[in-house]
Amino acid sequence: MALLELENVSASYGSIEALCNIDLHVEAGEIVTLIGANGAGKTTTLMTTSGILRAKSGRIRFDGKDLIGVPAHEVVGLGLAHSPEGRRIFSRMTVLENLELGAFGRSDKEGIQKDINRVFELFPILGERRHQAGGTLSGGEQQMLALGRAMASRPKLLLLDEPSLGLAPLFVHRIFEVIRELNREGVTVLLVEQNARMALKLAHRGYVLETGRITLTDTGENLLKNERVQSAYLGE
């Protein structure tokens, strides 16, 4: 059974329909990417999954549980961490406090400490800046912090919304490397990316989203070779 399964999910903002009968699944251990143009509904898909938005219809199952109607703050506790679009780190809190907040629902002090140390291992710069206010970090460092903060809840599934947004290539590579590393350690990832080429290279499978509908799905490799994908998202 899939770790995450969306069946016929629709969502809308008032009268604006943003998602229309989405079917999507993520198996445990996979990296799955969701690509699509601006406004296709990628962010909406993640927000609906994590309970920030309420699905209008359809079923969402995670780890054998029904997610429809479960509020966002309870979803984290089930093992699904959502790192929302645009970093959204807490700028007045220190790096360490941001990470501790990522582990808000946990009470195993030692485990939390271990996971935070792991984040510092993956992103040493965050360790050096642990007592610095989040808002004073560079954009790239903030992205790392956002990723680290999501890891701190020790999730089974990570929803990442454009973790490389606005970063220089070096930072992008680092973020992707870490995602691969986390996946190797057993974290399942659903990744939304503008950088379709890198995302498809990294991912086991991918979905193409166009104006709220899934129009194509295949392995990452095959999507890279697909002509439609190449012309629309890979700029070839």
């Binding site: 959204r88 807490f90 007045r92 206010a133």
Partner: protein, 371 residues
């Protein structure tokens, strides 16, 4: 080398030790104020009323700390704090005055008032805290007006404009009573009880709030104020967290109301608890620095210091300098009160938007702004 100042971890041992010293110093010093004042009175025949000012300031500081919990910590724009203050005062009135059968000791009333006000906060907050900030402001403002008008009109219960009084003296053990009753002044006993209570409450609340800031709940307040969506993603329950802050703030405001009533020996008239009063409290936490515990206390001291000490003093001087024509606006300095408050607020917003004594967190990003 790191040139980033940012935030030191305030959970450090240093600040805790310093805090303990401040608390200790206050506890040691404060019992002497009333006696100091008494001594001055005995020698000069004229009272500074220093102790009285400190009680007013302390009660107001408790109220300011209550509002700071709601507005400063949780970011809930509450414009009707006076209503909860009034609820606390009237609860005390009803539970203690001779008109009613309860006639609890002051101590009982002090314990009950926070519950009644906190429950009112819960009842008002539960359905409305989901509203966006500006709507919440209107709801709380409306609530406060309703409470005030009810207090005026339910004359059978509240004694209308006369207020409920007299609120009897608190029970004190006989040995304490005789030890304290140096001037054979019965009022003195009551006053001392209120004095210790009020100042002690400020110290206790200061310590509580500083501890809260380092706790999980305190962190979730900061997170929620900065980014509600991200907080929810981290597992913070926004509605519950806000409700806790709102109800707890209401309860503390109710406690302040109880102190206020037993200090005055009356609930005072309902119009005391008007919109202006709520705004005054808001002014004082903005002047001190939103979200800053020490700022709220300083703000209370500044505002009441102006009202109770500076204003009468200047009035006296003005009256000496000008002719005793009471129609002259210069005649009473307190006529200028709102003008001066308003100007002070504008100046602070312009030149020191984070308040006179902001919290470490806010002060840290003040430094960034300057650099």
């Amino acid at each position: 080398m790191e040139n980033a100042p940012a935030i030191r971890n305030e959970g450090g041992r240093g600040s805790r030790v310093r805090l303990a010293w401040v608390a200790l110093a206050l506890l040691v010093i404060y019992p002497f104020f009333p006696f100091l004042d008494l001594a001055v009175e005995l020698v000069t025949g004229e009272s500074l009323r220093l102790d009285r000012q400190i009680v007013s300031i302390a009660i107001f500081a408790v109220l300011a700390l209550a509002l700071n919990l709601q507005v400063g910590y949780a970011g809930l724009l509450q414009l009707g704090i006076a209503a909860f203050f009034a609820i606390g005062a009237y609860t005390t009135g009803i539970l203690t005055v001779a008109k009613y059968p309860f006639q609890l000791e002051l101590w009982g009333a002090l314990a009950a008032a926070p519950f009644v006000a906190g429950f009112a906060g819960l009842a008002l907050g539960a359905p409305t805290l989901r509203l966006r900030g500006d709507y919440l402001a209107i709801v709380t403002l409306g609530f406060a007006e309703v409470v005030r008008v009810l207090l005026i009109n339910l004359e059978g219960i509240t004694d209308g404009p006369r207020g409920l009084n007299p609120i009897p003296e608190p029970w004190l053990p006989a040995w304490l009573r005789s030890a304290v009753d140096v001037s054979a002044d019965a009022q003195r006993v009551r006053f001392l009880a209120v004095y210790f209570l009020a100042v002690g409450s400020v110290v206790a609340l200061y310590i509580t709030f500083r501890t809260l800031e380092r706790s999980k709940l305190g962190r979730s307040f900061v997170a929620l104020r900065e980014d509600e969506l991200a907080s929810a993603c981290m597992g913070v329950n926004p509605t519950r967290t806000k409700l806790i802050a709102f109800a707890a703030g209401a309860a503390i405001a109710g406690y302040a109301g109880a102190l206020y009533a037993c200090n005055l020996t009356t609930t005072a008239e309902p119009n005391t608890y008007d919109f202006n009063y709520s705004v005054m409290v808001l002014c004082c936490i903005i002047i001190g620095g939103l979200g800053s515990v020490r700022g709220a206390i300083l703000g209370a001291a500044v505002l009441l210091g102006f009202d109770n000490v500076l204003s009468p003093l200047v009035t006296k001087l003005l009256q000496r300098a000008t002719t005793s024509d009471s129609s002259n606006v210069l005649y009473s300095f307190s006529n200028w009160r709102w003008l001066i408050f308003g100007t002070a607020l504008v100046l602070i917003m312009r030149f020191r938007p984070k308040g006179l004594w902001p919290s470490e967190r806010v002060a840290a990003d003040l430094r960034e702004d300057e650099s």
